[in-house]
Structures are given as structure tokens and as C-alpha cells.
Amino acid sequence: MDLISNLELGFSVALSFNNIALCFIGCLVGTLIGVLPGVGPIATIAMLLPITFGIDPTGALIMLAGIYYGAQYGGSTTAILVNIPGEATSVVTVLDGHQMAKQGRPGVALGMAAIASFFAGTVATLVIAALGAPLTKLAQLFGPAEYFSLMVMGLVFAMVLARGSLVKAFAMIVMGLLLSTIGTDLETGEPRLTFGIENLSDGIEFAVLAMGVFGFAEIIRNLENPEARDVVRGSIGRLLPNKEDFKQAALPIVRGTGIGAALGILPGNGAVLGPFASYSIEKKLAKDPRRFGRGAIEGVAGPEAANNAGAQTAFIPLLTLGIPPNAVMALMVGAMTIHGIIPGPQVMTKNPQLFWGMIASMWIGNLMLLIINLPLVGLWARLLKVPYRLLFPAILLFCCIGIYSINNSVEQVIMTAFFGFFGYALIKFGFEPAPMLLGFVLGKLMEEKLRQALILSRGNFMTFVERPVSGGLLLVAVVLVVAALLPAIRKSREEVFTE
């Protein structure tokens, strides 16, 4: 089989002493920046690029890739421990992961996240190796109309994320969509809703919004609520998941991996949808959906698997087409070009050592991350025992530095303070911030794709229905809406009766 000889070549490259060392350094740095709130892989990879000048291209890319997926691992640690999602993909982990931590099970949550990620990473690596090229062709069927329909489906998922009032969840999604329209208009270049602030001309940075409404607002709320103040009261329970936990998490992990891997292949950053989709599906399938948002282990395992699978398969469009699906991958293109390898459809045949070496190193990297992260679980869990009066100023400082480092911009730090207040107001009015963040993330892509599709079809809305893939996705969305609304209507009727 070709695949086996290719993987053999890959492992012979990846298992050289140098490359193992580079992979390890990458994973370590990645974990570090993932844990630090706000510091994303983009700023770090950019600053570390010059260091890689002296290394051969394969080694350099192995290290940079390690930083990228290492950051995904580290990001969930912060999400679980201090309730701050560093990236769009860890918003979902916050919901149940942090609840688990509060209930004295931070170790179980962290361990499960690491194990789910490892499983997903392993499967995704195999998918890339075996099916990368044919899947790329399939993903090419996705034009603007298809993406728009996919995003519509994503928004329907967001409704399921909601706890409590459906109207409030709906309002938060719309709020997120509205926030995403802030910035320069795509077509005309006119500023929209920027209030004359130049820094808003490219819209609101995701980390600014997330850190404000989750990080800072959460700190303020914790401070006024002394019982919730010390994140973990009482003793920290088991550090690793037990048999029972695995039993609960096994199927969600498998489903999450499948969903995440499939969405990650799409060259338009479909990976962001993975964790949301996985969470929604697990909540729908669960016998008792009320457990979700209150520390359900499936709500950590599934989305984490989806997140990591998507992060890995996002390499497919880059490696097989030479087209980066997101900002980090665009940076990888920069890294490759600096090293004299211009990514394109021929990387696989022209640089088989690099191509297969990188794929093999992905699996090695995932194994390393598991080895790095499992022993750290105990350390992280103990961190929560630090008195809150010391912990929260530290979080504050890390967040400030992190935000500043995104674009070396003071204005963005100020904006985060504003969103901290905004998030505090949302909490006081009983709104959940998670659907808003999803609306925000999807909104940008959605408007872009909607308008592109309408330009291409010269204003014909039927394009969304006539194109088979797009029409199919919309149909699924409609079915989901009906399925979601029926019980809600029935429930509200029951409530009326019990009154």
C-alpha cells in the first residue's frame, strides 16, 4: 500500500533526533501560549519565525505546527480553570468544563480534555494521511452559497446552547451577529458602527470580546459573590477520569472527532463550528439534557475532540491545495515561503519528505502533548487552591498582556475593559454570553458568504435552494428548528398550565 510506505517515510523523517526535539519544543511552547489567556498562536508563531531561520524547513514547520496544536490543548486548560476561552473553539469547553472545576473535578475535566484531544488527533492524522487528497476535491464543492447555508445551520445549533429563556438566547445570537457587522464594509469599504474609533475599522477582535465578557465580567461577578469566590471549595477530587467517566465520554468523543474532522476540511474555516455542533448533538442525545451547563462530562469530551480533530484536518486545505483556511494557517504559509517552499497543490509530490514528515510528526506531537499535559493536571488543579484575592489580579495581568500582544495595541486593552463592563451588564440582565460569541464568530463569515453568493447569483435568492449541497444544509437546519421548537412550545404551554 502506498499509504504505509508513505507513512514509513514520514516517520523516518519525524523520528530523527532533531525533529523529535523540535516537535517537543513546539508542543511545550504551544501549551504555554495556550494556557496564557489572550496570547494566541498567531503572535507567537510570528515572533518565533526568525528563530527557525537556522533550521531546515521540515524541522521548522514541525515545530510551528506543534505550537499551533499545542495551543489548542493549552487553551482548554484556561477555559476549564478560569472560565476564559482564548479562542472561538474553546467557548464551548467553558460551559461545562469550568462547572466541573467548580465542583471539585478540575482534574477529571482536564484529563478528559487531554485524552479526548489525543484520540481525535490520532484519528484526524490518519484521515489526513489516507484521505487528504480526495477530501480536498469534495471540499471544493463548497462555494459561498454552501458556506452561508452551513452557517445558518450553525446558528440553529446556537439556540440549543442556550440555558433558560429561548427569547434571551435568540437575542444574544442577534447581538453577536450585530457586533460582527462592526467594522469596514466588505464591498464598499465604508466604516460601519465604528463610532469614529479608528481601531474598530477592522471590527472587534475575538479575544477582546471573549476576554471582556467571560474573563473580566466573571471576575467582577465572583468578587461580589463571596461563596463562589474561591474557584474550588473543599477538596479537589480525583485527578484523572475513572471508568465511569470514560463510559460516559466514549461515544461523545467518537462523534466529536467525526464532526470536527469533517468540518475542519472545509477551506473556509469550518473548524470553528465543530465544538458547537458536537455540544448541540450531545445535548440532544443526552437522556437528561439539564445536566449540560452544570458540569456534564460529555459537554467537555465531545467538543474537545471536535476542536482538536478540526485543528488537525485544517491542515488538509493547506497541504493539498496550498490555500490556508484560517489566520494561523496563513502564517504557516508565510513560514513555508520564508523557508523557500511555496505551498501549493504540488507540495505532496515535490516535497514528500516534508509532507509526510509533517503528518507523522502530528501524531508524535499529539502523543507528546498527552505526556506533557497529564502530569501537569495535578499542578493546574492545585493552582485553583491559590486564594482568589491573589489569583484574580494575576489573571488580570495575564489578560492585559495577552490582549496587548495581539496587535501591540493599547486601544484594544481599553476596549476589553469596556466589554468587561458590557459582560457584567449582560450577567445582571440574565443573558448568557456563549450564544453571543457564536453569533459573533459566525456573523462575519455569514455576511461575507451571503453577499458573495448574492453577487455571484446577481441577486437571486434561489441560489441557496437550487444548489444541491446548499439546499440540503438548509433542509437540515429547518428540521433542527422544528425539532428544537416543538418541545419548547410544549414546555411553555405546560408552564402556563402550572401557573
Binding site: I42, A43, I45, A46, M47, L49, P50, F53, Q140, L141, F142, G143, P144, T184, D185, L186, E187, T188, G189, I197, E198, N199, S201, D202, P267, G268, P317, L321, G322, I323, P324, P325, A327, M329, A330, L331, M332, V333, G334, A335, T337, I338, G340, I342, P343, G344, P345, Q346, N407, N408, S409, V410, E411, I414, K444, E448, Q452, I455, L456, R458
Partner: protein, 320 residues
């Protein structure tokens, strides 16, 4: 907030201005790149900056300040302390097209900067989807003229290189195809490869590999001579559209009032970088065009920027 920002700038200028008058450079030099890391300008800045650091004996630290088509970072550079410790890598957009595209621009490319020198240009290519029904540039332009209302021209967002150069191409052919905006080169190229859009113009480094692989086709390169990276692609002069000459040039600037000594030292370091064999090779591998000796002086760059601003102004204003 504006007041506070001004206050901050004033304080920053004060803080930076008091650095003692040792021989320049006495500390690391910050080079603002007004684009996200990983793009063509960023890559060129890093390659050149790395060699310049060695000549200057001080690290050149790249600071990416992306936003508003590069104008956010350029504004910051224009307002930075003119002590030689903040410089920037500008390009065709920030120092050529921006005045026409942004009516409220807070800097003047010709007046608010001391030119240091031209770094490298990346040629622009006219590319189309694989199935585009034309075999050479002549039949391409004929087809675009005849079917302008049916064709879609992709670009990477208002203010991007592909946007400006695409408009220029349209105005020279005398056709107004539908412009489809994307957020960045990646998504635009993706839809060109999959045939959702019909054609675009973009920098060689972004499209070269796709052309070699045959996933898109190239009609011409807008430089006087063919590129060694793509020797089969004819120049616009050869192919019959000689007036379409355009390159996404990148050049270094310092804030107005930076001392002549600092500018001379930076220019010298830049020249040395461009003369270095390994650095040259890296840039040429990207398909970049390196400036000739007389194009490397600050004076040449100053005159060139003035010409570029004048050239883009009518073209882009007409398209608005």
C-alpha cells in the same frame, strides 16, 4: 478617548526623545509592518530585517500592526517618535493607493515620512480559473470586454493589492466586471481554483504554485521582463497590454524628521541586505524583483512615492 490617546502619544514621544545621543543605533529598532504576519510584505520585512540586524548590530524587531488596509499601522508609524528607532515597511497600498481609497487618511505618504529605500517588489499576474475560455491575453481581454456583465473579478478586500490592481486592469481593458470581495487572498484564491469566480490579479508569491500546478491559468505578468520563477508566462508588453505595468512594491520609511544620519545608516544596512547572496536568493525564490542600485537611494523612493500617489488617484476615484 482621543484626548487620552493624544496624551499617550505625547508622553511616548517625550519618553523616547530623551534617549542619549550615543551613536545610532544604541538599542533595538522597531519596524512596523502594517499587515498581519505571514503575508508577502511581512515575509519580505522579516527576510530583509534579519540581515539588517546583523549590519546595524542591533535587533530589528518586527511589530505587526494590522488594520484598515495597512493604514492603521502606517498612521502609527507616521506619528511615532522620529528618533530612528521606529521605522516601517510600507507598500503600494499604504503609500500609493491609500490616499485615493481613504478620504479621512491621517497621514500623507509624500509628506509625513523620510524615505529609506525600496526593498523588493512582487510582480502582479493576471490569472483566471482553469476553464476560462481564452488562450492568450488578447483573447482574454476580448472575452472580458464582450462579457463584462457576466464575469466575476475576485479581490481580497477593499484596499488590498488585488483590489487596486484589479480595478486598474478593468479600467485599462475598458470593462467593468462584477467585483466579488473576499476577506483575504486565501479565500479568493480558493474560489478561483474551484471556479466560483472567473479571474483576478494578484502577487506572484500568492499564485505561482497554483499556476505551476495548473489549477489556475496565468495570462501575463505585469513587469518589463519575464520572471525567472515563471519563465513561461509572457509579460504584458509581449502579450499586447503594455500599459498594464504594476508591482506590489515594498519600501522602508521613517517618520518625518528622522535624522539624516539614521536614515543613511538604515539605507546602508538595507543595501547590504539586498547585496547579500543568501538574502537575495530567499527573495528571488518568492518571485520578488529586487531594485537596481540607483533605485535603492532614499531620493529615488521619495520621487517614486509621489508618482505612485498620482497614478492611483484618478483610477481608484473613478471606480468609487
Amino acid at each position: 478617548m482621543k484626548f487620552l490617546a493624544k496624551l499617550a502619544f505625547a508622553a511616548a514621544a517625550l519618553a523616547a526623545g530623551s534617549v542619549s545621543a550615543q551613536t545610532y543605533p544604541a538599542k533595538p529598532v522597531t519596524m512596523i509592518v502594517p499587515f498581519a504576519a505571514g503575508g508577502p510584505t511581512d515575509v519580505i520585512a522579516r527576510i530583509v530585517g534579519e540581515h539588517m540586524s546583523r549590519t546595524l548590530g542591533q535587533q530589528i524587531v518586527i511589530e505587526n500592526v494590522a488594520g484598515a488596509g495597512g493604514t492603521t499601522g502606517t498612521t502609527r508609524a507616521a506619528q511615532a517618535a522620529n528618533d530612528g528607532y521606529t521605522i516601517m515597511m510600507g507598500h503600494m497600498g499604504t503609500h500609493g493607493a491609500a490616499p485615493a481609497l481613504y478620504p479621512n487618511l491621517r497621514y500623507d505618504p509624500t509628506k509625513d515620512f523620510e524615505p529609506i529605500g525600496l526593498a523588493a517588489g512582487t510582480p502582479i499576474l493576471i490569472v483566471a480559473k482553469k476553464a476560462f475560455p481564452a488562450n492568450d491575453l488578447k483573447s482574454f481581454t476580448d472575452h472580458v470586454k464582450a462579457n463584462a456583465d457576466k464575469l466575476n473579478l475576485a479581490h481580497a478586500g477593499v484596499g488590498s493589492v488585488s483590489h487596486s490592481t484589479g480595478i486598474l486592469l478593468g479600467s485599462m481593458i475598458g470593462a467593468k466586471p462584477t467585483m466579488v470581495p473576499y476577506t483575504g487572498t486565501g479565500p479568493a484564491l480558493n474560489d478561483l481554483v474551484s471556479g466560483q469566480v472567473d479571474f483576478m490579479t494578484d502577487q506572484i508569491v500568492n499564485v505561482a504554485e497554483q499556476i505551476r500546478a495548473g489549477t489556475i491559468r496565468a495570462y501575463a505578468i505585469a513587469t518589463p521582463t519575464r520572471s525567472p520563477a515563471l519563465p513561461d508566462v509572457p509579460t504584458t508588453t509581449e502579450a499586447g497590454l503594455p500599459q498594464y505595468q504594476v508591482s506590489a512594491w515594498n519600501a522602508m520609511f521613517a517618520p518625518k524628521g528622522t535624522s539624516a544620519d539614521a536614515v543613511a545608516k538604515l539605507n546602508d544596512a538595507l543595501r547590504k541586505a539586498l547585496a547579500d547572496e543568501a538574502t537575495r536568493k530567499r527573495l528571488l525564490d518568492l518571485g520578488a524583483v529586487l531594485p537596481s542600485a540607483d533605485e535603492q537611494t532614499p531620493a529615488w523612493l521619495g520621487a517614486f512615492v509621489a508618482k505612485e500617489v498620482e497614478r492611483w488617484n484618478p483610477v481608484l476615484k473613478a471606480a468609487r
